[in-house]
């Protein structure tokens, strides 16, 4: 017994030593990233809501071309709050978001600084950037309707049609509180007013086949699984699924749906934008502006279109064949800022009618 106990003790002591060593290593490692942050080096710091997988090819191309290193941190909720807290000492040069409302929130918090760049202004249509140069859209995604290939005959639909009682028990959609849907509802409010929007949203709610939850891909998957026949999803998911980039299963889901390019009754499709702002206290503004300009260059726009399956903002830039085949996009005339203004009303509306319940 004493022998066994002392052996246990030896083992424990050894593992304690090992633990110490690991802890020291961790300490050393934890402090390494500091080196990368000195201002003035040929580099820039990017805070992004856009997923790393989508950013990487852009950065690789940019760094290859200019030699400027891009440090990134990918985050989601709280990006604006973090930069706000970091204040004048924030290392952030650029902030990228995938939802126009978030972009405008950053601007509203006074965290952006205006940029004057002929290249940016030439590439981006006026309604897709701030007149004062504080924000710039980089790419667009359209809110589409996915329909079951085998079970739905309709070749065209409007957003208004989604409330038609003929779809009772046949519609799938993600949460009404997801920014993509909030923006769609906000656009509806802008077009038709809040009262009409409420009637419409209640109509959709009554048509739901399942709870409003999951992601846009789940809409396609549920259509394939015959849980529903019609759903709402973003354009780039179509490319992602059908290209096989998401794996063989998703390719099948993508094949199970027919994609309708819907429109409001005015004939225009709701779009949301990914965009970028230059941080107010950016330590490397020159490098940051070069990156912004690269993002709207032919090369940058091509990568965005190919890797992300998004609509480029630059006129004439090529799009992915998976997106091109969906038909010609006629983006809504509404300014993005107008939509963003209705965001709060849209979110409250969805809660009021219990859209997610």
């Amino acid at each position: 017994m004493p022998f066994a106990l002392s052996r246990v003790r030896t083992v424990l002591r050894c593992s304690a030593h090992g633990f110490l060593r690991v802890a020291m290593f961790v300490f050393a490692m934890g402090f390494m990233p500091i080196q990368g942050l000195q201002a003035g080096a040929q580099e820039l710091n990017l805070y992004t809501v856009r997923e790393p997988g989508l950013i990487k090819p852009l950065i690789a191309a940019f760094t290859g071309k200019t030699g400027i290193k891009v440090n990134t941190v990918f985050m989601n909720d709280g990006l604006a709050e973090r930069v706000e807290a970091e204040g004048v000492r924030s290392p952030a040069d650029l902030m990228m978001t995938v939802d126009i409302a978030k972009l405008l929130e950053i601007v509203d918090k006074g965290l952006a600084q205006p940029v004057r760049s002929a290249a940016l202004e030439a590439a981006i249509p006026a309604q897709l950037r701030d007149p004062e140069g504080r924000w710039f859209a980089l790419s667009l995604r359209a809110r589409l309707i996915y329909a079951a290939k085998t079970r739905v005959d309709a070749k065209a639909m409007t957003y208004e049609d989604l409330a038609d009682p003929k779809w009772k028990g046949r519609i799938c959609i993600r949460s009404g509180q997801h920014p993509y849907n909030t923006a769609l509802i906000a656009a509806y409010i802008a077009h038709h007013g809040e009262a009409a929007a409420e009637v419409w949203l209640r109509g959709i709610k009554a048509n739901l086949a399942r709870k409003a939850t999951g992601g846009d891909r789940e809409v396609a998957r549920d259509i394939m699984g015959e849980l529903c026949d019609v759903g709402v999803g973003n354009s780039y998911y179509v490319g992602l699924m059908r290209s096989g980039a998401g794996g063989p299963d998703q390719e099948k889901w993508g094949q199970a749906i027919r994609v309708l390019l819907p429109a409001f009754s005015n004939g225009h499709t709701h779009v949301n934008a990914s965009g970028v702002v230059l941080a107010k206290y950016a330590p490397n503004p020159a490098q940051a502006i070069r990156f912004m300009e690269f993002l709207v260059s032919d090369e940058g726009q091509k990568i965005i279109a190919e890797a992300n399956f998004e609509y480029p903002v630059k006129a004439g830039a090529p799009m992915s064949p998976f997106i091109a085949e969906l038909g010609e996009l006629k983006p809504d005339h509404l300014s993005l800022a107008e939509i963003a203004k209705n965001r709060k009303a849209a979110s409250l509306l969805a809660e009021r009618i219990g859209f997610d319940q």
Partner: protein, 590 residues
């Protein structure tokens, strides 16, 4: 007559000195008994640091919430409160049932596969809730393997011919949470059952209680403090979860915090909801503690024999095996098998990303560092109470444990301004003293991240160490002190060797949870610092969840190692108090 009044009871310590009951003896006197020691001051400092985010939330909440509350009251709360309560009740029942039942089976009975199951039952601990939610949707979806297979077997062609309930529901959420969160209850109750004296069970049997009777009337009531500790951890994790419950369409109150903040930019309102929820949680925890204020299970230096396992008949043994294997399969084997299949597919298609190694190092590194710090701070807090247990030190210990009671995102948000404030101060100081600024040192070094982990998971460290300390009889402390050990010497020479198993299992719990943690990791990490969890999240939010399966598997694997270690040390922890307590029955008269 006086003849019956002679003293016959053996004298004992009347009451634990530091836990004197009775009427208040003056507020200050009660609060300060024993005076302020350096330990108390250290505890106070820790509690203050941990409370920083709470203060930040208070400041935010005081900023006002506009017209939020009438709207919430009218449209959101009635449903959300109902959903939240159902979720809590459901998960609570599940984790308590699975946790205590399996713990009792592996402690009280011997059956084929018991040794294996005893540690396998810990495995679901390594499974993050968001991963299990994604996995199960894939597995159980109408076009997933299970339903496709069933249809194939039954000769059905359309998914509509076989309508099974959707996992994306409150029921599904309860099931999934139950299967991954029960180990918190299992760990706590198993330790408690191991401490029980055999005579209690034997007495119950002789009083006519059957196997079930012994479980329900003896084991369960005795394990109540352990159930409370384990279940409260599980429930806090369930109620504060955002990723999985949102994905499964379960709209809890936590999600309304989220919507209020994210979609309506009403940070003040979000902070108010979060604080209100925290208050409710604190009240519930307080009520529970108050309800069992008289139950105390202090270890004695000399105790009776421990429970020895009874053999079961082959049929009963198989049933016990099945009951214990079910949660392991549901909470671990199935989702891991799914992850492995996906990972293999990905590897074949896209190869192994180089980043996975650096992500793993980052995850393990910050988790390990946070674990060490959480253990040291937890030790300071619990040892302070051990030294000088008064309302003040106990309050400090409780306060330092609040981080787990708020959603991770809210905690991270609350940490932003205090940490940034510290960083600005550091920078100014360094500029004044050294001539060049330090920049945002905490954010850039990962210090912010480690702080968040420590604040969030300190409660596990404190809870684990507290249990460890409770098993050491106070007489050992007094013996050590009179033999010349000062408090630190006592901690080093007596307490640490005795609570080592508790230290290790507390540390491993913290480590596993740090590995799984997502919201604070996302928000507070430095540039170019991906971890396994952020990678999985990045892939999931891009809609390519399966691409994250390798990283998800890595989280599970690295979570697995500590879980196995817990299992190993759990065995030591059984022998430790037992060796402290075994006595020769022929000689103990009492």
């Amino acid at each position: 007559m006086s003849l019956d009044q002679r003293p016959s009871q053996p004298a004992e310590w009347p009451i634990h000195p530091s836990r004197g009951i009775g009427a208040p003896f003056g507020f200050v006197g009660r609060f300060m008994r024993g005076g302020f020691s350096g330990w108390t001051v250290a505890s106070a400092v820790i509690a203050c640091v941990v409370m920083m985010p709470l203060l930040a939330l208070l400041v935010l909440g005081l900023g006002g919430s506009g017209d939020l509350w009438p709207h919430l009251m009218a449209y959101v709360l009635p449903e959300a409160i109902g959903t939240t309560l159902l979720l809590l009740v459901g998960v609570g029942l599940m984790v308590t049932t699975i946790g205590t039942l399996t713990a009792w089976l592996v402690t009280a009975y011997d059956f084929a596969g018991r040794r294996w199951l005893e540690w396998a039952l810990l495995l679901p601990l390594a499974m993050p809730t968001y991963i299990i939610a994604y996995s199960y949707l894939d597995l159980l979806h109408p076009i997933g393997p299970l339903q496709s297979g069933l249809r194939h077997l039954l000769g059905l062609s359309s998914p509509r011919d076989l309508l099974l309930p959707d996992i994306r529901s409150l029921g599904g959420c309860v099931l999934l949470f139950g299967f991954v969160l029960y180990p918190y209850v299992y760990i706590a109750t198993r330790a408690m059952f191991h401490m029980q004296v055999a005579s209690l069970v034997e007495v119950a049997h002789t009083l006519g209680a059957g196997r079930l009777g012994v479980f329900f009337r003896v084991a369960l009531p005795l394990a109540r403090p352990a159930i409370a500790v384990g279940a409260s951890l599980a429930l806090m994790e369930a109620v504060n979860d955002v990723g999985a419950s949102e994905f499964l369409g379960v709209r809890t109150i936590t999600l309304s915090i989220y919507t209020t903040w994210i979609n309506r930019s009403n940070l003040g309102g979000a902070a108010q909801i979060a604080l209100l929820m925290l208050l409710v949680i604190m009240v519930l925890v307080g009520v529970e503690r108050y309800a069992r204020r008289h139950q105390r299970y202090v270890g004695n230096a000399r105790q009776g024999r421990r429970l020895s396992r009874q053999n079961l008949s082959p049929l009963a043994g198989f049933m016990a095996f099945a009951a214990c294997a079910m949660p392991v399969v549901a909470g671990f084997v199935l989702p891991v098998a799914y992850l492995v299949v996906e990972a293999v597919t990905r590897l074949r298609l896209f190869g192994l990303s180089d980043d996975i190694i650096s992500q793993t190092l980052h995850s393990v590194g910050v988790a390990a560092l946070a674990t060490v710090i959480a253990l040291v701070l937890g030790l300071v807090l619990t040892f302070t109470v051990r030294q000088n247990s008064n309302p003040l030190t106990r309050l400090l210990q409780r306060l330092a444990s609040f981080g787990y009671a708020v959603p991770g995102t809210v905690l991270a948000l609350g940490l932003l301004s205090p940490l940034a404030g510290l960083d600005h101060g550091l920078d100014a100081l360094s500029l004044a003293l050294l001539g060049h600024g330090s920049g945002l040192f905490l954010f850039a070094s990962g210090g912010a991240l480690v702080t968040a982990y420590v604040v969030r998971f300190l409660t596990m460290s404190v809870g684990g160490l507290e249990t460890g300390f409770q098993r050491i009889p106070p007489s050992l402390d007094q013996a050590g002190r009179t033999l010349g050990a000062n408090p630190l010497g006592l901690l080093w020479r007596v307490h640490l060797p005795l609570i080592r198993p508790a230290v290790l299992s507390a540390g491993l719990l913290v480590f596993v949870d740090c590995m799984k943690e997502l919201p604070a990791t996302l928000l507070l990490r430095p540039l170019n610092f991906e971890t396994l969890a952020t990678h999985v999240y990045g892939e999931a939010s891009r809609g390519t969840y399966e691409d994250g399966s390798i990283a998800a598997l890595a989280i599970v694997l690295f979570g697995l190692v500590p879980v196995m270690l817990i299992a190993g040390f759990g065995k030591n922890s059984q022998t430790m108090p037992q060796s402290a307590a075994k006595t020769d029955r022929t000689e103990t008269g009492s």
